[in-house]
């Protein structure tokens, strides 16, 4: 639990290098033996598992702090190295220092003037807000300058050439420099000379880069695991430390015994190897240290680095409690703001409440219900009621509430006890679907506890989550603090995210059948009997009053039009006009008199003409939703979207709607016409090929003959496919369900239909006709060098006809490319997004509306050059000028009329599709990580 009222904050973290003294000072114990446990399985003193280093076994107490497991954070120990060893991470730095300083006196190889000059430029860079990389460039320059000196300006010693033998040994004019000598040289560099070299002598003396003592991390950092067999399995770090200790021991013994120089040097190098791999087991030029099983050990650097490393896996990403994950399924009857939570999950997820005089009684009541209350409401029906799982006393003790002790616990309840209550209807939770590509991937929902084992969500919120119900799972997080809940309620609720910050349009709206339903309800002169009207309206909450019926039919029944019904869920003050998806862009536009009923006009909440389809209520495109979200606020849109959903479903059910492959049936004369036109196209292709072969083909400028042929053939075949589609389209009228879906934007396109009914068309890989496979031909079914339509992947048949074997193969080739493309794309774009986020995450708009980064430098003087929030913008524009003119000029009609006149001519260009309908494709989940392989 979060400690209440604590407002402490870490203000900064300073990094520094450990000095040997410090290593020894912070060490709880000096480690000398390579053995870990004695025969009884008890940690050996001064061994790697010494009890001074912390405890990992329950029951034992730490010898340093006296605390038990989980209480003791662990303590460092140290190993005194027999001989000096170079720290791998700093070899390059050591090389730089050796190069830049005098071999003899240790001073920087620069005159005083030069040194001051470089110091100054460092200060200058810092003053102008230079970052670490900029400072690095200056010091690099300093080193270069110093390394070019032949003689030391201070003592006159000549410079010798020092080379670095990767990974860790230095050589001076052919002689090996031992780490000890290196350390001695580094010691000689005076503090003042370190500053121009980019080192801060207050936190780092260069000789510390050569180790004399090695810190041993606490056992809590490298816990050993006891296997089922009772054997102990040690952590990789422990293994490595054992190696270090062993060699260290041998080296010490040999050296003290006065062993031959050669042996000592070999052991010294071995020690260097072990210490090096202890730091980084992927040092280039060194074979990685391996586990007995042959697996390379995961040592310090490997623990931190990469996606599975400490930083990205544990520090940037955190595990949470109070979350749930399960399959999602649709529920058209709940609000977009809600989420259906299974009872089982609700009983497991809890919200803490601190007992106060105001909620005492309510909490007691809840505790009494126990962990699994059921309110019976007669005849085997029951209602969900929230109970309590745990009560936490102010001293931190948790009391589990059971059926047996519930009464007792309730009586015990006192002020400041914390009661963990079950989730119940109306609680706000966060709901999320991965990949979380934008902020709408995680939104606040209100809980509705339901029977069943899946999360239920409204279909209208599927687009922002990019969710469907083919097995998708989603996560739910229960907020634990009042602040978080308040924030979620105000900022994260679904209704606050109807408008996307990406383009300032709606991302939540009707999809699929809901669009079809709205279409069927409102298209042309749809009429409904009183009975039907009652059925439809009974599903809708809060609608306006039903007006007088539009007409009575021959049988004398009262009939209402669908447009009348739709008006009932519109706000009474709404006025707008636009063109629907079914609009065919005829010239000139007849507006209200549109013969396709494609011009929508709503006046004062009265839906006069037009059709409600994707352009009106769809996600991404819905203009009505856009307008309502902008002008009427989130509560109104939420209600409207919910109502559209219900209204559409009711009307589609009243009218009845079905589709199947039979919808693509076309009469035989249609089939013949298609076949005929395709034959013609194929013949035309053959003619082109003949012309190409005889050289009669007229070459296009800037193209080779082959390219010309390909372009021409593609053109002919493309036209043939369209032609077949058009013919098929003639037989598929507006009464055809599949056509209705395509035209109103619910699902599918006319292209899909023409591929089912007419002809699938040319298959392509990389935008070209298929050409690869066998020698000079695509398949052995064709002659070599055949450039005709069929031999190069033209599919004459329709999906309904069925494909020939060769066609089927070609179709698969085209399909495969798409799949590969998707796979590559997801990983690429994932990495791009990670980089973008990382680069821009710190940027915020400050109170003066400048945009700044963390260094407080200004990135933009005014956000987006006009300070407008993209999600509040009107398709990118700062304000809705036309709307304002209409509002402001309400009483000056003649001016308005003139503006209208002017605008009418430009209307076609103003009308822009918000977003192209995308094919739905489920991408395989991929590792977003590319580009890290070539690290360093």
């Amino acid at each position: 639990m979060i400690a209440r009222g604590v407002s402490k904050r870490i203000s900064s973290i300073r990094f520094a290098l450990l000095s040997p003294e410090e290593i020894r000072k912070m060490s709880a114990v000096k480690i000398i033996t390579a053995d870990t446990y004695d025969d009884d399985g008890f940690p050996i003193d001064m061994g790697l598992m010494d009890l001074h280093l912390g405890v990992i076994e329950p029951g034992l107490r730490c010898k340093t702090c006296g605390r038990k497991v989980d209480e003791c954070p662990g303590h460092f120990g140290h190993i005194d190295l027999a001989m000096n060893v170079i720290h791998v991470g700093y070899v390059k730095e050591i090389k730089k220092l050796l190069d830049a300083t005098c071999r003899k006196c240790g001073r920087l190889l620069l005159t005083k003037e030069q040194t001051d000059e470089f110091k100054k430029s460092l200060e200058r860079v810092e003053e102008f807000g230079g970052d670490v990389a900029d400072l690095g460039l200056v010091t690099k320059e300093t080193v270069r300058e110093a390394a070019s000196k032949a003689v030391c300006p201070h003592c006159g010693a000549t410079r010798t050439k020092i080379t670095l033998d990767k990974p860790t040994s230095f050589r001076e004019e052919g002689h090996k420099l031992t780490p000890k000598e290196v350390r001695e040289r580094l010691e000689r560099i005076p503090d003042a000379d370190l500053i121009p070299l980019g080192l801060d002598p207050r936190v780092c003396r260069p000789e510390w880069m050569v180790l004399t003592a090695l810190p041993v991390p606490p056992v809590t950092v490298r816990p050993s695991i006891t296997l089922e067999s009772g054997d102990r399995s040690e952590d990789d770090l422990t293994h490595k430390l054992v190696d270090v200790l062993r060699i260290n021991q041998r080296l010490r013994e040999n050296r003290d015994a006065g062993a031959p120089q050669l042996i000592v040097e070999d052991l010294w190098e071995l020690l260097q190897y072990h210490v090096t791999t202890y730091f980084d087991n992927q040092t280039s030029g060194l074979p990685p240290a391996r586990h007995r099983s042959g697996r390379p050990l995961k040592t310090l650097v490997q623990r931190l680095k990469g996606k599975e490393g400490r930083f990205r896996s544990n520090l940037s990403g955190k595990r949470v409690n109070f979350s749930a994950r399960t399959v999602i399924s649709p529920d058209p009857l709940i609000s977009i703001n809600e989420v259906g939570v299974p009872v089982e999950a609700a009983r497991e997820l809890t919200i803490p409440f601190t007992a106060s005089p105001y909620n005492m009684d309510a909490l007691k009541e809840m505790i009494r219900r126990g962990p699994e209350p059921l309110a019976v409401i007669g005849e085997g029906k029951s209602r969900y009621l929230p109970g309590v799982n745990y009560v936490i006393r102010p001293d931190g003790r948790r009391i589990k509430v059971t059926d047996k002790n519930s009464e007792q616990v309730a009586e015990m309840l006192e002020l400041n006890f914390v009661v963990e209550r079950h989730l119940t209807d109306g609680d706000i939770v966060l709901f999320n679907r991965q990949p979380s590509l934008h902020r709408m991937s995680m939104m606040g929902h209100q809980v509705r506890v339901m029977p069943g084992k899946t999360f239920r969500l409204s279909l209208s919120v599927c687009p922002p989550y990019n969710a469907d119900f083919d097995g998708d799972e989603m996560n739910l997080h229960v907020l634990q603090s009042e602040e978080a809940r308040a924030e979620a309620k105000v900022l994260m609720k679904v209704q606050e995210h109807v408008l996307s910050p990406r383009f300032g349009g709606p991302v939540i709206g009707a999809i699929h059948d809901h669009i079809t339903g709205a279409f069927l309800l409102t298209y042309m002169n749809s009429l409904f009997t009183k009975e039907e009207v009652m059925i439809i309206l009974s599903t809708v909450k809060n609608h306006r009053e039903l007006p007088k019926p539009m007409m009575t039919d021959k049988a004398g029944r009262e009939m209402w039009s669908g447009k009348q019904l739709f008006s009932l869920i519109l706000p009474a003050t709404l006025s707008m006009a636009f063109k629907s998806s079914i609009c065919v862009n005829c010239e000139p536009c007849l507006y209200e008199k549109c013969e396709y009923d494609a011009y929508v006009r709503i006046k004062d909440g009265n839906f006069e003409v037009g059709t409600m389809d994707e352009k009106a209520v769809g996600a991404f495109k819905g203009k009505v939703i856009d307008k309502l979200a902008r002008d009427y606020g989130s509560d109104v849109v939420r209600e409207f979207i919910d109502n559209v959903t219900k209204l559409s479903i009711a009307s589609i059910m009243v009218r009845g709607f079905t589709t199947g492959i039979a919808d693509e049936d076309i009469p035989s004369d249609g089939k013949n016409r298609i076949a005929e036109s395709l034959e013609k196209a194929v013949a035309r292709v053959n003619e082109l090929v003949r012309q190409y072969k005889t050289g009669e083909l007229e070459q296009m400028p800037g193209r080779s003959m082959e390219e010309t042929l390909e372009v021409e053939v593609m053109k002919v075949l493309g036209r043939a496919r369209d032609g077949a589609g058009d013919i098929a389209g003639q037989y598929l009228g507006m009464e055809n369900p599949a056509v209705i879906m395509a035209k109103c934007g619910a699902r599918g396109s006319m292209l899909n239909l023409s591929q089912m009914a007419g002809c699938i068309g040319q298959q392509a890989v990389r935008g070209e006709r298929l050409s690869r496979g066998y020698w000079n031909r695509t398949l052995p079914h064709f002659k070599q060098g055949d450039l005709g339509a069929e031999a190069r992947g033209f599919v004459k048949h329709s999906y309904k006809d069925g494909l020939t074997p060769t066609e089927f193969f070609f179709h698969s080739m085209g399909g495969r490319e798409g799949i590969v493309d998707t796979a590559v794309r997801t990983s690429r774009s994932g990495y791009m997004q990670r980089r973008l986020i990382n680069a821009l995450e710190d940027i915020k708009v400050t109170e003066d509306r400048t945009v700044r980064n963390t260094a407080d430098s200004i990135v933009q003087v005014l956000y987006g050059e006009d300070g407008i929030d993209p999600s509040r913008s009107i398709q990118g524009d700062a304000v809705d000028v036309d709307g304002i003119l209409i509002e402001a000029l309400g009483d000056e009609a003649q001016i308005l009329a003139k503006i209208d006149e002017k605008r009418a001519s430009a209307y076609a260009t103003l009308e822009m599709d918000m977003m192209e309908g995308q094919e739905e494709e489920e991408a395989e989940e991929v590792d977003y990580d590319i580009g890290e392989g070539d690290e360093q």
Binding site: R9, F15, F311, Q860, G864, D869, A878, D880
Partner: protein
């Protein structure tokens, strides 16, 4: 700044068809060129002591142009617009960066990977879709498919022959484009046999060819065959290796054109011929002198003389309209025109790429990315070599990529992490400094009097 906002709306229209209108709009309007109505609106705003962005004023004046409106009515409109404008302003502490990154990254999954033919210019292949977007964000030295769009000065723009002539001058031609090569092994000679037809088309004379060849390195003193219409290159010593080498040099020698421009294609756009080139060389193109006189000189002597008599100043008119040259090579724009131009180029290229894919992304997001990339005066990539590698926080850098190096370096220079950013604060487990985390409200219960 303003011109970008304009170019976007116009680019939309351009897709429909109206190219010339777009061109009209690219001309930056100066203060004096603002319409009367715009000035009047600005004056009224000043009187009201309120502010509106220029784009709104322009749009209002566009709508009301030519309609008589009283000052009081205008004020009413402006007041309303100001109210709305203030409502639509972005909130302080909004994490604009993250929203921008998401808005550009999210549609990435919907983009294609393939390169396509550029809208209309079927001959030129241009990288589009996700690869292009990544290229822009990476701030690569050169795009994988560099391209230029060269417009002619308006008075010449409708002349096809002239456009052709210009495009031939820009396009690089190697020797093989105008002549064939014959290697005479027996006499150790390379014969260049110019094709008069093609020579004429490209506008190269034999003398010119000879000159170019004699100036190219490695061939200097080997040229002979002065009087004939072939050029002979004599190899001083009998060596097949040298013969081969010389013939290769000859083959590849550039006869004319600008370096890097491998192809130039003409296209008619709204009554104007535009040259599209494969390859880009902004610097040379901008200093490339092509006058009307030189065109007439080589095509129509009579007219040349005529004009030289009547209006000699016309002859020095430049054929290429250098204010309308465009390239998709951002680095080139940066080095020739500077950061501001590079920033605009990034915005334009990125929004063009997204728009071409049918994805709508608010220009403000793209602007923020571009501004971030160009903030310190040079073009920096989004990634570990650019912005991410230069963050002020050690922890944030370590969390992104190349973890150990950053930590090791931080230790020796004694870096201090001030925990201002998002990543750092998440790492240490405290609220981030954006949005609601940026404000601190403390409740101090008032003392009872």
């Amino acid at each position: 700044m303003k011109s970008i906002a304009r170019s976007r709306t116009t680019a939309k229209k351009a897709k429909q068809q109206a190219r010339p209108a777009e061109l009209e709009n690219y001309v930056v309007r100066k203060e004096g060129e603002r319409t009367e109505l715009q000035k009047r609106l600005t004056k009224l705003l000043k009187e009201m002591e309120r502010k509106l962005p220029e784009s709104v004023i322009e749009k209002v004046s566009d709508r009301l142009e030519g309609i008589e409106v009283r000052d009081s009515t205008l004020k009413k409109i402006l007041a309303k617009a100001c109210d709305r404008y203030e409502e639509h302003l972005i909130d302080p502490n909004e994490s604009a960066g993250i929203v921008a990154a998401q808005s550009i990254g999210e549609p990435g999954t919907q983009m294609t990977m393939r390169t396509f033919h550029y809208a209309g210019v079927a001959e030129i292949n241009v990288t589009l879709g996700l690869p292009r977007l990544i290229e822009i964000v990476d701030a690569r030295r050169a795009p994988s498919t560099p391209m230029m769009e060269v417009h002619l000065a308006r008075e010449f723009a409708d002349d096809r022959d002239l456009a052709m002539w210009v495009s031939n001058r820009i396009e690089t031609a190697t020797l093989l484009d105008v002549a064939s090569l014959e290697t005479d092994i027996h006499n150790m000679k390379v014969h260049v046999l110019p094709d008069s037809e093609r020579m004429k088309k490209k506008g190269v004379s034999i003398q010119g060819l000879r000159e170019v060849l004699s100036q190219s390195r490695g061939l200097k003193d080997l040229i002979s065959g002065k009087e004939t219409d072939t050029i002979t290159i004599e190899i001083p010593e009998p060596s097949f290796r040298i013969l081969h080498q010389k013939s290769e040099i000859t083959k590849d020698s550039k006869i004319k054109g600008l370096d890097g421009i491998t192809r130039a294609v003409l296209r008619k756009e709204g009554g104007e011929y535009v040259i599209y080139t494969e390859g880009s060389n902004l610097e040379e193109l901008l200093s490339f002198e092509l006058s009307y006189g030189s065109y007439l000189d080589s095509s129509d002597r009579a007219k040349h003389n005529e004009i030289a008599e009547s209006a000699p100043e016309k002859l020095s008119a430049q054929l290429i309209d250098k204010t309308r040259v465009r390239t998709n090579n951002i680095e080139e724009i940066y080095s020739v025109l500077g950061v501001e131009a590079a920033r605009n180029a990034i915005i334009e290229e990125a929004s063009k790429t997204l728009e071409e894919q049918g994805l709508v992304v608010d220009i403000r997001h793209i602007m923020l990315v571009a501004d971030m990339m160009t903030n310190d005066g040079s073009v920096k990539a989004i990634g570990r070599h650019g912005i991410s590698g230069r963050k002020s926080s050690v922890l944030a850098r370590a969390a992104f990529e190349i973890t150990s190096t950053h930590l090791l370096r931080a230790a020796i220079i004694g870096e201090e992490d001030l925990l201002d950013g998002v990543a750092e604060n998440i790492i240490v487990g405290q609220p981030v400094t954006l949005g609601t985390g940026a404000v601190n409200i403390e409740y101090l219960p008032g003392k009872k009097e």
